[in-house]
């Protein structure tokens, strides 16, 4: 029997070929082309940067943070090599591994994506500050100065069980099962070397990272990410997101720093506040997304504008405090997802909110500085609390045949 592949299964089932851009040479179409086929295309795993940062935000997320449990530098190298190989297979819509049709052996691939399209899966791997403290790895001297646990910030209510981690994997896809499958299979491969510390499902993107995308709404019902950096803006990406020469250790060149925050929204309270309150809290009109005092979503935010003698955009509104002009021009690339994890056991209220993810060149100067301002003054704090926090160094992408992390461990 010929090797089983997802692609082959798809073809024989008579689906999938339409709209994926399958060339005669196979499924590996260029990233730009693939992105045009939202939902069905495949995004290459290998490249200068890891995918999942400047990729137009997919609809679904499964994120996992792992702790190193044991193992030498060689074990970690081997795991990352296997992760990269598996990630490349999964993003291409292939089953992972070689043994999938052996009657007496458990299949390498867990199988729940058989028949599913690649669905623009991206797998993005990062290293937390704790990884560099494991003596057995001998990495202490290579920790970038910019990679430090996010300090305690105003309005934090962090839960250690939903924070931190030595290694992270961000799996994004337009199909939730494809994202889940990626995390599940990488966790399986990593067993013995790493253990999952916490994980988070995200059911809807809350940011646009490409001009080709509509601005989505978050669970507060407001458009989120209108003023986000767009991947097409290469100058902004270079200035705010990608690490260049001189940005810390050489092994991070072409990488970025990722900050995640699990932000619980107190939706019951938000839902019963008046429309005018909601709009003044955010600083935008709820339905059009326009900054208060303007009429269109993408109208510039005029912080000087006045209405009835008061600032049109209130001084404690979220858009004012988050805007680059009050943050020394600093911006971040936001790439978050809405989540819900059922019911808060103590109060019986919805445990839901925003799993915030952002990328930047320097967490201290960018995320931390912005959040310090927001945490102290943002009117939105009445309706949210930050309950999880983590930071990771996201190394550059891998070349074909190489692995993510090779610049650090190779």
């Amino acid at each position: 029997m010929s090797p089983l592949t997802r692609r082959r299964l798809l073809a024989s089932a008579g689906v999938g070929a339409a709209g994926i851009g399958l060339g005669a040479s196979g499924y590996l179409v260029g990233r730009d082309t693939a992105e045009a086929d939202e939902g069905t295309g495949s995004v290459p795993f290998y490249g200068e940067h890891q995918a999942g940062i400047d990729t137009p935000a997919q609809d679904r997320l499964h994120f996992a943070a792992f702790d190193l449990v044991d193992g030498s530098r060689t074990d970690l190298q081997e795991m990352l090599r296997e992760w990269s190989r598996a990630a490349a297979e999964m993003t291409a819509g292939e089953l992972i591994g070689d043994v999938n049709n052996e009657r007496l052996a458990p299949p390498d691939d867990t199988g729940e994506t058989v028949g599913l399209l690649p669905s623009r899966l991206t797998v993005t791997i990062g290293f937390g500050p704790g990884l560099f403290e494991h003596q057995s790895l001998g990495l202490a001297g290579q920790r970038p100065a910019a990679l430090r646990t996010i300090p305690s910030l105003p309005a934090d209510e962090l839960d250690a069980a939903q924070s931190g981690g030595d290694i992270c994997v961000q799996a994004c896809s337009d199909d939730p099962q494809v994202a889940f499958h990626a995390i599940r299979n990488l966790a399986r491969i990593g067993r013995g070397t790493v253990a999952m510390r916490w994980s988070q499902l995200g059911f809807g993107r809350t940011a646009s990272t490409s001009r080709s995308q509509e601005t989505p709404r978050n669970l507060m019902g407001f458009k989120d990410g209108t003023a986000n950096i767009r991947a097409e803006d290469l100058e902004a990406m270079r200035r705010h997101v990608w690490l260049g020469a001189g940005d810390g250790p050489a092994w991070m060149r072409g990488g970025s720093y990722m900050v995640t925050r699990r932000i619980r929204m107190l939706l019951e309270v938000w839902d019963r506040s008046a429309l005018s309150d909601q709009e003044e809290t955010i600083g935008r009109a709820k339905y059009s997304g326009a900054p208060l005092g303007e009429s269109e979503e993408f109208d510039p935010i005029d912080l000087e504008a006045e209405k009835n003698g008061k600032p049109a955009i209130p001084v404690d509104s979220h858009v004012r405090l988050a805007s680059a002009s009050v943050n020394d021009g600093e911006r971040i690339l936001r790439r978050g997802y809405s989540f819900t994890d059922g019911v808060d056991p103590r109060l019986g209220e919805l445990d839901a909110g925003l799993f915030f993810i952002c990328f930047q060149r320097d967490p201290e100067k960018q995320f931390v500085a912005i959040q310090r301002r927001l945490g102290a003054n943002d009117a939105l704090n009445e309706y949210i609390k930050h309950v999880g926090s983590a930071v990771f160094a996201v190394p550059p992408g891998a070349r074909q045949g190489g692995y993510v992390g090779e610049t650090l461990l190779g």
Binding site: V269, R272, S273, A274, P345, G348, A379, E382
Partner: protein, 354 residues
């Protein structure tokens, strides 16, 4: 750390009294007495006139379709917010809507016309004389504010003295009673800039250098078991509550603010806040009874239900500490508070123009 108030730890949620009315004060079908009449025609060109002027106050917009199939509605907008509209006016039909407008530039919007947008310029001061019912509501609530700030100063004074004297046990005993009057009136206290954070900020709400007031002292007494270094904090607290006492005497109140405050108090389950919400509600209840008697009855019933559910946890003059509640207890209380707060959130829109 124990607290005598019954908290379901929904974190302190004061929403602030910024939520006053936008420029428009709600639309209604019936023209208020003394409303100015303004006639508009829908034509192929849009609204006619497309530029109009009016004095601030109630206006009745009388809209007539003068024979156009292109335009069937007229809206009045403040920025992008629709304040009032009349829709589905096909050829030959007419209708009206009423608005109370403050000074400002408004947009008259007749979608489909050649020129969709016109301007309505409103000038002069809104005659803000309230009805006797509204005045009574405000007077009643003002009295409650005075009573509670007086009590706040009276109960904070011995507490501060105990802290300054370094008497930890006495300070701990006096702390809860000093908190209660503050919690009852918190939404109003929040309207005075940084006075509320100075008195009542929690540790993570403010930068460490600005962490002062009740909760800083609470942390010293319970978590650190000392009053050392707290004398200046306590003295400042007393000065701050006295400042609050002076300020509420002249605070400019609106019925809608009082109603909003009732809702805001219920972001957190605490007996004193529920009481504060109830008094605020009762002050504006006569206004609500006129427009929505059913809602008024439902809210009364919900308050009763919440009090009944709190009853088993009474402990002398106060309540058992939050830690003693089971998960089933907290869920039941949170559910009832959510129901009540959802109902209370409907009140401000109902009493506008009352």
């Amino acid at each position: 750390m124990t607290r005598t108030s019954l908290r379901a730890a929904l974190i302190a949620l004061g929403i602030g009294l910024v939520a006053v009315l936008a420029a428009g004060c709600g639309a209604s079908e019936d023209a208020p007495k003394g409303a100015k009449k303004m006639a508009f025609k829908l034509t192929d060109a849009g609204c006619e006139p497309s530029a109009a002027k009016a004095p601030a106050g109630p206006i009745n917009f009388e809209v007539e379709n003068a024979g156009t199939s292109k335009v069937t509605e007229m809206e009045v907008l403040d920025g992008e917010t629709v304040l009032g509209e009349k829709e589905n006016l096909t050829e030959g039909l007419s209708g009206s809507f009423a608005l109370t407008l403050e000074q400002g530039e408004y947009t008259i919007y007749c979608p489909g016309g050649d020129n969709e947008r016109g301007t309505l310029t409103v000038s002069g001061k809104l005659d803000s004389k309230d009805s006797p019912e509204v005045e009574a509501a405000i007077a009643q609530y003002r009295e409650y504010l005075k009573k509670n700030t007086d009590e706040l100063v009276a109960k904070t004074t011995p507490f501060v003295a105990a802290v300054v004297a370094g008497n930890i046990a006495e300070a701990k005993a006096l702390y809860p009673a000093a908190r209660v009057p503050y919690e009852r009136i918190e939404p109003v206290a929040e309207s005075f800039g940084d006075l509320d954070p100075r008195i009542d900020a929690r540790e993570n709400d403010v930068p460490p250098s600005k962490f002062e007031g009740f909760h800083r002292i609470e942390k010293a007494l319970w978590a650190e078991n000392t009053a050392k270094g707290m004398a200046p904090v306590a003295e400042q607290l007393l000065a701050d509550v006295k400042e609050l006492q002076g300020k509420v005497k002249n605070v400019n109140l609106q019925a809608v603010q009082i109603a909003n405050g009732a809702n805001e108090l219920l972001g957190e389950v605490s007996a004193s806040k529920i009481e504060g919400a109830q008094v605020a509600f009762e002050a504006v209840e006569p206004l609500l009874v006129k427009s929505d008697p059913k809602l008024a009855k439902e809210i009364e019933a919900s308050f009763k239900q919440v009090y009944a559910s709190l009853d088993p946890y009474r402990d002398g003059a106060g309540f058992v500490s939050y830690e003693e509640l089971t998960q089933a207890d907290t869920r039941k209380l949170a559910r009832e508070i959510d129901t009540l707060a959802e109902q209370l959130s409907q009140v401000p829109a109902q009493i506008v123009g009352g």
